[in-house]
């Protein structure tokens, strides 16, 4: 399939590479031209604008930072779009913003799908991302061959915006999950108990989770390299809290967690992995 790909950051680059590996014809565009070079070397065409990335393609995918970026590149996509184009945004943005962009593109005859991902850089490289899609059945079917190259657990959650709602739910669970593991470790350490043994013991029971296994191990290794930067998790939790505010949903746990991530950004831990919340807890418990 002929696919345009916009946004070649930590996530976008390996995702685009996996599309090439899957045998698709890929045209890329990124704000920083030099980030297109590795993709060109791997066989992609480079475009000079978002419109160029859409031109002559059946599918265009964006993977950028935030809603205004998505809106901006999609305005370009409209310029270059051929009739019947399906546009898929895999960034994490507010559900309401995704619905709005979907309506705007529908008016231009483009079928838009929100399809944010979970699984981080590791999942992007391995092609094992979880993909949560919102939009029409037809768009989902058209995007399926591309999704299959990038992800493993691919779910059509519902109508436009539903993918972003699922992603927001994902960030509630992962945000609180990382904080829960960090709190357990801070608690164990303050009690003078070996955290690695605690982790090992817990892995066999109901407290088992991927986060306890993977993030927990990185906490033990004190490997705070991102992964997933805590400022991005903070941004995503802000989407959750703003949506909850608009709808009147009571989320006490997520609200408390969002403030911990807020404190991380404010205290200079924003560029570290979200597991650096452990450092913040240690600081607040006299362990650092």
């Amino acid at each position: 399939m002929k696919i345009g790909f916009i946004g070649l950051g930590i996530m976008g680059r390996p995702m685009a590479l996996n599309l090439l590996k899957g045998g698709h014809e890929v045209t890329v565009w990124a704000r920083r031209a030099e980030s297109m070079q590795p993709l060109r070397e791997a066989g992609a065409q480079g475009a000079d604008s978002p419109a160029g990335a859409a031109q002559g393609n059946e599918l265009v995918i964006s993977m950028v930072a935030d809603a205004p970026d998505v809106a901006e590149v999609m305005r370009g996509v409209v310029q270059g779009a051929a009739p019947g184009l399906v546009a898929v945004d895999m960034s994490t943005i507010a559900p309401a913003a995704a619905r709005r962009i979907g309506e705007e593109l529908a008016a231009a005859g483009i079928d838009f799908m929100d399809a944010p991902v979970s699984g981080g850089e590791v999942g992007a490289i391995a092609g094992t991302l979880s993909i949560m899609a919102g939009g029409s059945e037809a768009a989902f079917a058209r995007a399926q061959p591309a999704f299959a190259c990038m992800g493993k657990n691919i779910v059509h959650v519902g109508a436009s915006g539903a993918g972003q709602v699922a992603k927001a739910c994902n960030q509630i669970v992962t945000g609180m999950g990382v904080l829960a593991v960090a709190e357990a470790f801070a608690f164990a350490a303050k009690n003078g108990v070996d955290r690695s043994r605690v982790r090992e013991a817990l892995l066999g029971g109901f407290a088992y989770s991927k986060i306890l296994e993977n993030h927990g191990q990185r906490m033990l290794d004190r490997n705070f390299k991102p992964g997933f930067k805590s400022w991005m998790h903070e941004k995503d939790l802000n989407i959750v809290m703003q949506t909850a505010h608009e709808l009147g949903v009571c989320l006490p746990g997520a609200a408390a967690t969002a403030q911990m991530f807020n404190a991380m950004v404010g205290s200079g831990l924003g560029e570290e992995d979200s597991i650096a919340v452990l450092k913040l807890l240690e600081r607040l418990s006299g362990q650092a």
């Binding site: 903070e234 909850a244 505010h245 009147g248 949903v249 009571c250 006490p252 807020n262 404190a263 205290s267």
Partner: protein
């Protein structure tokens, strides 16, 4: 002096009347003209017309977007107000929105003060509002005689936006105190103790506060008619959390209280008084007393 007033709600109406009673020539504009019909004022067709006629214009409306539209939009104040005239915005809006609007008006030579108020509709009626002003000190001195018609405590907090920051701080402390009062009243009732007596006992001590007096009183009387509509506190909490986020300042208690406000909204009490936080707690757990 020719004074303009926009926003004739529960706060704005008594404030406008105080200015008129002090001898000022009151001009008003209202989105629904009928809401201004019974006022002793000249009713203007647009904010621009009001701006043309007045030296000082007051606004007290709901959101940042509303203030932006009235001040800078089509037929807005900036189209009519002369250089050197003053906009006093008493609305509660985001500090950065206040700074942005002040900056745009300054380009036209129009002064602006952000001057949000605290004290509720009773304070507006009694002219006892606390007024927290942000903007140029000399401009504040020019309009101080007008502000003195509305409140007794008028503090120049700092440059534009500083008044809104102070108001955000005010809302954080006040609504958290309402939640604390509600939790205490709930605990007292659940323990089979008379809420009114607990409130009376606390009033003289370290936990005594204006919130416990006013909002605690409403809780005891189960009088949930607004005073201050809870939906406005909910709105303000959105602003506070956004400001905290932009500054990277953790506000764990504010965040917890904001979720109780979210629950209050979804339970349909947004138009009622914020004392309804008590009802949220009652809804979270039944009246079954646990003994252990």
């Amino acid at each position: 002096m020719k004074v303009g007033f926009i926003g004739l709600g529960a706060m704005g109406r008594p404030m406008a009347l105080h200015l008129q009673r002090a001898g000022h020539d009151l001009h008003v504009w209202a989105r629904r003209p009928e809401s201004a019909a019974d006022l002793p004022a000249t009713v203007c067709a647009t904010p621009a017309e009001l701006g043309r006629r007045c030296e000082v214009v007051f606004t007290i409306i709901t959101s940042s977007a509303d203030v932006e539209a009235v001040a800078l939009g089509a037929d807005g104040l900036s189209e009519g107000m002369a250089a050197g005239s003053v906009l006093v915005d008493c609305s509660t809006i985001a500090p950065d929105a206040a700074r942005r609007i002040a900056g745009r008006l300054a380009d036209e030579g129009i002064h602006m003060l952000d001057a949000p108020v605290s004290g509720g509709s009773q304070g507006a009626i009694d002219a006892t509002l606390a007024i927290m002003a942000g903007g140029d000190a000399a401009v504040l001195e020019r309009v101080r005689p007008l502000l003195a018609c509305l409140g007794q405590r008028i503090v120049h907090v700092g440059p534009n936006g500083a008044g809104q920051v102070a108001k955000a701080c005010n809302q954080m402390i006040m609504v958290a105190a309402i939640e604390a009062a509600a939790e205490a009243m709930r605990l007292a009732a659940a323990a089979g103790v008379d809420q009114a007596r607990v409130r009376a006992a606390l009033a003289g001590g370290s936990a005594g506060s204006r919130v416990l007096e006013v909002f605690g009183g409403r809780m005891v009387a189960r009088d949930f008619a607004a005073g201050v509509e809870a939906r406005l506190h909910h709105k303000d909490y959105g602003l506070v959390l956004e400001a905290a986020r932009k500054s990277g300042v953790p506000v764990p208690l504010t965040a917890a209280v904001s979720q109780q406000l979210n629950a209050l909204m979804s339970l349909g009490w947004g138009d009622d008084d914020t004392a309804s936080l008590l009802r949220v707690l009652e809804r979270s757990a039944g009246d079954v007393s646990r003994t252990r």
